[in-house]
Assembly symmetry: D2
């Protein structure tokens, strides 16, 4: 019997519309390295969501790659990027940023988020010249624990960036989910951030992250840097197909809305059952806390990840993807009800 | 009107068998990061071609990435890799090897190939401790200009590697074509090289390069290094599908044979017409030389790359892929006959 | 009027014995790059203090350089070094370790020191392969705040290193002071650490740090790595003169003892006056805490550094060097008595 | 018996004036990291030779360090530096430039020098975006084989730099000798180059290279980068003493003139004896060619380096330093006369 899948949002190949387009284009020939007409079409469709900013858009394969290439582009050798301690680059990328020669200056996390005052304090302390020069800021929308920045929160960080001459980069591996939950549109993001990416891998696409570069300083030679990092895909048109499909008829946002809605339904259901949650996630990841005795039983029927093991209780993660079905959530809630009573 | 495509071997999405399998698996769920059952199946199928060596196999997305991660794994900070000046890493990867801190020590190229005596001389000169310590050797099968190493040539390079303690790494972006042309099997390659990869991107696959690591020294923590380089794909199963399909029923080699056969047919046809060629390529890339006046006319009907422009003559490149048709080559030869008479 | 100098222990050129030897050797000729007879003599003299371990000794110019070259030698690309958050490499070397591609994994500090249990926990957490592989451990003897590791404490850290296959590297910029205060001899250090250095810059020498490499794994090609980092001084014999002089007639330890004794005299004097101290430093740096109103007056007559400014109180640092005189400390204590009454 | 020393120009501690000043200042106290008054005085004295350019001056310890820090400051991650194949950074720095992530793009050497037309051609070829972006130019005055660039030659390279937006950096490890031989003054160098250094190590100083940064782009945060590379000496005042002494009463140039004069005397003497030379060096290094049978006899009495060993003949190097005496050259010439007759 196949278990019901809440493991993550990158467990399926892609949504049906993309599978169809892959087949549809399989007879064609395309020029390489993202200079084909499908990539161009995809860029134009994305730009319609970005308003009238003058930006460059590049398609990369994955999130770690996108983070590494962008931060490497932003920084001179003596410069560092600030991140909360729980930021993906600071924990789960096996030292990728440092491998490009740059230090991550850690800040405390508050439900996964950065505090602008703590960022400012960091900048002041680092005026001392035996320290790195903080030049970049890395945040994620949504965060690692499913929380989101409101527009007001983003603007406060932007203010510190302007005051100290910092670049603001937003990791958007789950940007779809983040946009739906926060109400901060891509257009607003393009006005606030210097650069950010829109993740397809976790939002119905087969692979691909669309990097949006707004700040002119960061645009020159970006493709050379991608090439150097092995991030300039020969068959760039495969990435183009992802975004061309997802940004047709709002598909990207429809999938994101589906993910969030089911996750919030799951969350409310858990709360009604008296299950506590690690934090108040408003996106497609939810982190309920169960007694250890229950974990084993749940795992007989469901696929999920253990987030924080403990002696008596364990935090686990349920993720809803574009492919998750409401009946699967209902089944889960029903089973949990039986297990905890 | 669509032009006839001889531009390169990565212009199509993938061969039909892969498109079908993508669709077939699109309803499934898979664990991430290459630890799924399709990747495992693909590894087993490849291993059947490798004989009884004890090797690790990892799937990466592209050639530059594969080269960079492997060479970074091989070398300590003060160590360098030897390559012929025309090696892909030395010319067309935008400084990727150097970006990981390592120097490429250049050797002369002989129809794209390395001379073992020149390699040995390099090792001797570099005993001087103000120079890098040469530790890795990078060659390509097939080379950038379509030539191949015979088994005897590979063994001579291996001999120097053994004498000076060097790792031998073979870039196999066009390994399929190389195996068919040289007769050096994957099994023999696994006995000679410390590590090499088998390229799918240019041999009918959608994306993907299968890195084969034979030498135990190079195996530990390879997945961590891939993660660090953004080369550990979340949806690793997409890469698994490529190789599982290609290594079923010899599909990989059938496609490679098709590529080579048409390219040799094209080459013989050109020679009969009196067209000279840059070198004696025996694989799927051919480099005819034309008077400049003809280039423009050819490009009205055909897609190809200019390899070496000159004042009077120009070297151009025709590449045959799994999708190239015999009638396209016939049409090309017919048109060339008319143009040059 | 010249102020009385408690600013640091690298404010004077060098102790008289070294100045004399510089003059004495100024008529000679020496081969370059540390292969001269004075360097050889210095190495032999140091080795007499190290017992019968089989070690390599290299002379480097400064502490940041010594830290960077050694940690770069220890680690493969995906590996990291553990350090307490207050470690010099983690704060005041402008990202030098990260510039070589390696991440520093931070641990809490306890009066400047590392807790072996926290180190072990870090190793366990980092078994997860999306994280760096912790391979090196960096500690300082004496620490940044003048505290020291006892032999027992060092052995407990060694135990964790042995269990998890870690290299233990000890920053010895103030090793002289550390040896005197802790009673852990160089011989014992050579039995416990894989590598460490003995700092001359802050212990009476003009410049120079002597890197002692005990672990055979870390010895090969070290000079090549030094050259690459610009750390292989052409006039290596100048460094040789430092250590040949300092390790004659126990001069190195006599100077260290002088530094410590005056600092402890200063500390006891402060305590008698009721002045609190930041921590219980037992070496040549002392960190008294004064009301802000007093700081300005003190600075009219004395050179010192502000360590931690506060709204009402400020921690300042007094450092005793080989050149500090007892009457200067007496004068200081007398002035403090008058200021605080 | 001590052999007569022609081995190199960094075999002595320092010229007498510096030894005296070291002793003179040995009672003083100085602030650290090059912010003391002697460093400031040294900078002012050097600036008098530079005319009215607005430049920053930093003191580093050695040549490899100076090259690495400057080139790292000049380049973004995807950018490369052009150098002739025989350039010191391309051969004898153990991969230092590559260790900072940057590729050296090699150009042919013509008696150690770069051809501006070849540089321009390189820039054009590298417009292809799968290659590095050439951004820096590295040349040496004097070169590795003792030749020099005339003002006209420098201006032609400058012209290419201006046309393609390149930074021109001049390695001045033997700048003193280069200024005397070429007639290109430091003032002119500061008008032509974006940055260059003035070497003391090989020109009578104990240690030290003075980096002159003219181009405003290269000035910000240079001290942070030095710190990161371990190149910001705690006892910066020791470097200050070198340059303050050497740039008093033209001492630097008097020593350089002495070196060159004796070397040219040696060269003319050799030529009169019929000894051929590798190239027409006009500075303090000379490269005579002898039959192998003579080399052994010469080495019984003289210290020198073998430059290029051959089957029958060998190129050896004689270097004159500030300490070389005319009678030593006379003795050498006399001995050669006897040996070759």
């Amino acid at each position: 019997m196949n278990k019901i899948y809440f493991r993550n949002d990158y467990s399926e190949i892609a949504c049906p519309e993309i599978i169809e387009n892959i087949a549809k284009y399989s007879q064609g020939h395309f020029v390489g390295y993202g200079e084909d007409e499908i990539c161009e079409s995809a860029r134009e469709k994305i730009k319609k969501y970005l308003g009238d900013v003058n930006c460059d858009i590049h398609f990369l394969v994955g999130g770690t790659q996108a983070n590494t290439v962008m931060i490497d582009a932003m920084l001179k050798p003596w410069e560092a990027v600030a991140s909360v301690v729980s930021g993906h680059i600071n924990v789960h990328e096996a030292g990728s940023i440092e491998s490009t020669g740059h230090r991550i200056e850690p800040l405390p996390e508050h439900d996964g988020k950065m505090d602008p005052e703590e960022l400012e304090k960091l900048c002041i302390v680092h005026e001392m010249e035996h320290m790195t020069d903080v030049r970049g800021v890395y945040i994620s929308q949504a965060t690692e624990v499913g929380t989101i920045y409101s527009k007001e929160e983003l603007l406060k960080i932007r203010e510190v960036c302007d005051k100290y001459g910092l670049y603001l980069f937003v990791d958007g591996a789950r940007m779809g989910s983040g946009v739906i939950a926060s109400g901060v549109t891509l257009r607003e993001m393009a006005q606030i951030a210097d650069c950010f990416y829109i993740g397809a891998t976790k939002n119905g696409g087969m692979i691909g992250e669309a990097m949006v570069i707004v700040n002119d300083d960061l645009k020159p030679c970006y493709r050379r840097l991608m090439k150097q990092h092995g991030a300039l895909l020969a068959k760039g048109f495969i990435l183009g197909i992802q975004f061309d499909t997802l940004f047709t008829d709002d598909l990207f946002f429809r999938l994101a809305r589906h993910e969030n809605e089911l996750a919030l339904y799951l969350k409310e259901g858990m709360k009604k059952l008296g299950v506590r949650l690690l934090c108040d996630s408003v996106t497609n990841q939810q982190f309920p806390i169960f007694e250890n005795s229950i974990i084993g039983k749940l795992s007989e029927k469901y696929q999920f990840e253990v987030w924080e093991p403990g002696d008596q209780e364990t935090v686990i993660r349920f993720v809803c993807s574009w492919a998750t079905k409401k009946e699967d959530v209902d089944q889960l809630l029903s089973d949990v009800r039986n297990l905890i009573k």
